[in-house]
């Protein structure tokens, strides 16, 4: 029963990092020929955050899957509180108190918070009936113990992402978790929600939880971590003391031997010429949607990168989708390269010269089960014909197109026929970029282009973006990583609750931008209430 069992967490702080709670020693793991981990040591003490960094494909997730009991290591031991749990199953590890919170949360949206917290451990009455009343009470007790702003009766469907994360945390602690693995927990959170999450992590630390924190975002790692380890080519570097190192040093340690930064000069997109005398790539007047956007007007010049800074829910992604024709009720006057654009039709948007790298590359950007070359060709099939006028696609031209971008963007792949699902995050994103650069756009809309890609791939994405801009393409960059905006954009527009509040020409630093956004949001709320 959740109400009485979860207190395996002691409320008193455990003394120091002297004795590790979980300790992995000499772990090796191979898949076929591929040695993913070689003689790796990793440990977590009670009451500490141990950050785990590494490029995609370095072996982080394999290491965590061994800790979770999904994989069995080929060699090495996993001990929890001195007890060997190396050869056991996920269920055993869960009952030993090791829990993981995944990037994609694993809650059932159609059930209530209480149902989710106590899933599989529902209090029973006679005849296999679930005792709903005591279930709600038990769940609320767990919620109240942590003081989270949740009610046991709320449907998970109605919760925001941050609240769902809280439910995940509660589910884990109520099962008696002592070690919590968090995989990119902030990737879908707004700034304010991030702060809440960090407070939760502090609270868990104080209660003696050991936390493994996986993230690509250096700033938050340096804010949270007591120790950090870097996985690189199947080996672990560290643990390092965050106080004794720097972001720059860590990036260097993480990167593969040869930094494969794309050369901006190679990316000649050769944008379609705009109508004579027009230097604007995009002009928007009075763009509105029924739900989110409230009378937006702005322009983007050719070769300019305009950043949109906004919190989650500000309408950033809606703006991108509205321009690309994915929102049927979008109204307003939009011209691309001087030509008026009919809203509501993605094919018209593409014909006008808009390219759109969407937020979620796996769901929206790629056909994962198809080959790399057919993914790259998808948005420009009409141009890849054997002969103009006959709608027969030329495999030769598709192969050449892929080869071209394969080299220009430095996509690491074995064959054009390799499936998109087999690539790492950064390379997948390059394939999405290739697909859109192949349409020879006038305007490139990028929605979170570096989401979930490693440091080096991020640098590549920025180089590609800059290369495209230098060849005359207008770029609309949406990012929740504000330092990315300040580093890349020529001009930043702040989007608050569906309205553009400011236009910033000077690249401000991240903290200043963040403060501005929050102040504007507060002002907006006050105004709406009045």
């Amino acid at each position: 029963m959740a109400a009485d069992s979860p207190s395996t967490l002691s409320d008193k702080p455990v003394d120091g990092a002297a004795r590790p709670l979980v300790s992995m020693r000499g772990i090796s793991k191979s898949f076929g020929e591929n040695r993913v981990l070689r003689d790796v040591d990793f440990e977590v003490s009670a009451g500490e955050v141990h950050a785990l960094l590494g490029e995609n494909g370095a072996g982080k997730s394999t290491l965590m899957k061994i800790l979770m009991g999904v994989y069995r290591p080929d060699a090495g031991t996993v001990t929890l509180d001195g007890e060997d749990i190396g050869g056991t199953s996920v269920l055993d590890h869960l009952s030993h108190g090791i829990a993981m919170i995944f990037q994609e949360l694993s809650l059932l949206p159609n059930l209530t918070v209480g149902d989710n917290i106590l899933l599989g451990r529902e209090p029973r009455r006679t005849g296999w009936r679930i005792d709903k009343r005591s279930m709600r009470r038990d769940a609320q007790t767990v919620i109240d113990r942590y003081g989270f702003p949740l009610r046991a009766g709320q449907l998970v469907r109605d919760l925001g992402f941050a609240q769902r994360q809280m439910v995940e945390v509660l589910k884990a602690v109520s099962r008696g978790a002592r070690v919590l693995i968090m995989d990119e927990p902030t990737s879908s959170l707004s700034l304010r929600e991030e702060e809440k999450l960090f407070a939760i992590i502090d609270e868990l630390k104080a209660r003696g939880m050991g936390i493994v924190y996986i993230s690509h975002r250096m700033a938050e790692i340096f804010r949270l971590a007591n120790r950090m380890s870097i996985v690189k080519d199947g080996q672990v570097i560290g643990p390092l003391d965050p106080a004794a190192t720097s972001i720059r040093k860590v990036s260097e340690l993480m990167s593969k031997s040869k930094p494969a930064v794309v050369d901006t000069a190679v990316i000649e997109v050769a944008a379609k010429p705009a109508s004579a005398g027009v230097a604007t790539a995009l002009e928007v007047r009075g763009l509105k949607t029924a739900r989110k956007l409230d009378d937006l007007s702005f322009t983007i010049a050719q070769g300019e990168i305009v950043g949109i800074a906004g919190l989650v829910g500000s309408g950033r992604s809606t703006l991108a989708k509205a321009l690309f024709g994915l929102i049927p009720d979008a109204r307003g006057r939009v011209t691309v390269g001087g030509q008026p654009l009919k809203l509501g039709h993605p094919d018209a948007a593409i014909a006008a010269g808009i390219a759109f790298v969407p937020e979620d590359r796996r769901l929206e950007g790629l056909v994962l089960g198809h080959s790399l070359s057919s993914n790259v060709a998808l948005a420009s099939l009409d141009k890849l014909l054997h002969r103009i006028g006959v709608p027969v696609v030329s495999d030769r031209k598709i192969a050449d197109l892929f080869e071209d971008y394969h080299q220009k963007l430095g996509i690491v792949a074995r064959r054009p026929s390799q499936l998109a699902s087999e690539l790492s995050g950064g390379n997948q994103q390059k394939v999405v970029f290739a697909k859109w650069l192949a349409t020879k756009p006038r305007l490139l809309i990028l929605d979170e282009p570096t989401n979930g890609v490693d440091v080096n791939a991020k640098a590549d994405m920025r180089a590609i973006m800059r290369g495209a801009a230098d060849s005359g393409v207008g770029v609309l960059l949406i990012s929740s990583e504000l330092d990315e905006l300040t580093a890349s954009a020529d001009r930043i527009l702040t989007l608050v609750d569906g309205r553009i509040t400011r236009e910033l020409f000077e690249a401000k630093d991240e903290a200043e931008l963040r403060a501005t956004l929050q102040a504007d949001l507060a002002a907006m709320k006050k105004e709406r209430l009045a």
């Binding site: 993605p346 089960g369 198809h370 060709a377 998808l378 099939l381 054009p416």
Partner: protein, 321 residues
């Protein structure tokens, strides 16, 4: 995560392609084994006349399987093809009885097949009803109509020109139904495997959202696939009517199951995005060989169904991906 650092991209060799085909389509091995079994144990199985008979029997399923392949690769299903073919057989018989010219009546029926597909497609895409339900309803409507229109009486076809054109005649040594199969397979292959439309069909089934985000008019692609499926069902209905020189309201009932089985055995994924036309034809021929071989071995039709079902489940289990 086995990303190798290699600057040059390898092109696929023929051997890699064959090996990958066999890994992806283990059913082809079962297909070969079953055929070999019949050649060894069934009397006079490996003859040209047997092959001709099988291909003729297979024609109906092959033709509908071509249309079905488009629908299934789109990630949808069309259960209405069997009753659509019955209904088409009834309509052609009534049209010919009403002295509509032999050159016109079949075209009208094919257009009607397209219309049936259009209705299916519109209901699936615009009202967002799962295709399983839409076409299940359409199955019921069409088989009911076929039975009602003549009060379950078959309608004889006396127009020999029609029966010759679609079933009885031979051209250059091949019987008419095989020619029609070849025509439809070539059209299907061209549309699916060579044209822009075909690539879009794969994209729609592979990831509907990504396809929409790539500027593809996904609704239009799906509707077209349903229309093509309806047209192939109508053509199959014409062949059925020509074969029995009559429109019979229950001729095509249950055919949809053979058609779907043929497509899935041929390696097309029920989840969409994966598959091809040659696979579906091989699947149809496999079902034909299985039925014919069991018949030659002297097994009763009832037990044939059991064995056929078992082998189909086995084949699909192996093809799972």
């Amino acid at each position: 995560m086995t990303v190798q650092q290699s600057s040059a991209v390898e092109r696929d060799s023929a051997w890699t392609t064959i090996r990958r085909t066999l890994v992806q389509r283990p059913t082809y091995l079962i297909f070969a084994a079953v055929t070999a079994f019949f050649i060894i144990f069934a009397p006079n199985f490996a003859t040209l006349s047997t092959a001709g008979a099988i291909l003729r029997v297979t024609a109906l399923v092959s033709i509908m399987a071509v249309g079905m392949t488009f629908v299934i690769i789109c990630g949808e299903i069309d259960l209405s093809v069997g009753s659509a073919s019955s209904w088409s057989g009834m309509v052609i018989a009534l049209l010919l009885q009403a002295n509509v010219p032999t050159a016109v009546a079949p075209l009208l029926v094919i257009a009607m097949g397209a219309l049936i597909g259009l209705v299916n497609g519109l209901l699936v895409t615009k009202l967002r009803i799962p295709s399983f339900l839409v076409t299940l309803g359409m199955l019921s409507i069409l088989s009911g109509l076929a039975l009602t229109i003549t009060n379950t009486e078959p309608v004889p076809i006396v127009d020999d020109a029609f029966s010759d054109l679609l079933w009885n005649a031979s051209y250059i040594g091949l019987p008419a139904p095989i020619w029609w199969t070849i025509v439809i397979v070539l059209i299907g292959y061209y549309l699916l495997q060579m044209t822009v439309f075909g690539r879009r069909v794969y994209a729609v089934g592979g990831n509907l959202v990504a396809a929409r985000f790539s500027g593809i008019k996904t609704d239009r692609i799906k509707i077209t696939a349903f229309m093509f499926s309806g047209m192939t069902a109508a053509l199959a209905g014409l062949l059925l009517a020509a074969r029995s020189t009559a429109g019979n309201p229950s001729l095509g009932s249950g055919l949809e199951l053979d058609v779907i089985a043929a497509v899935i055995i041929g390696g097309t994924s029920l989840f969409g995005g994966v598959g091809d036309i040659p696979g579906s034809v091989i699947g149809a021929i496999f079902i034909g060989i299985l039925g014919f071989g069991l018949l030659v071995l002297g097994l009763s039709t009832s037990i044939q169904e059991v064995i056929k079902g078992g082998i189909i489940i086995l084949a699909v289990a192996l093809n799972r991906r």
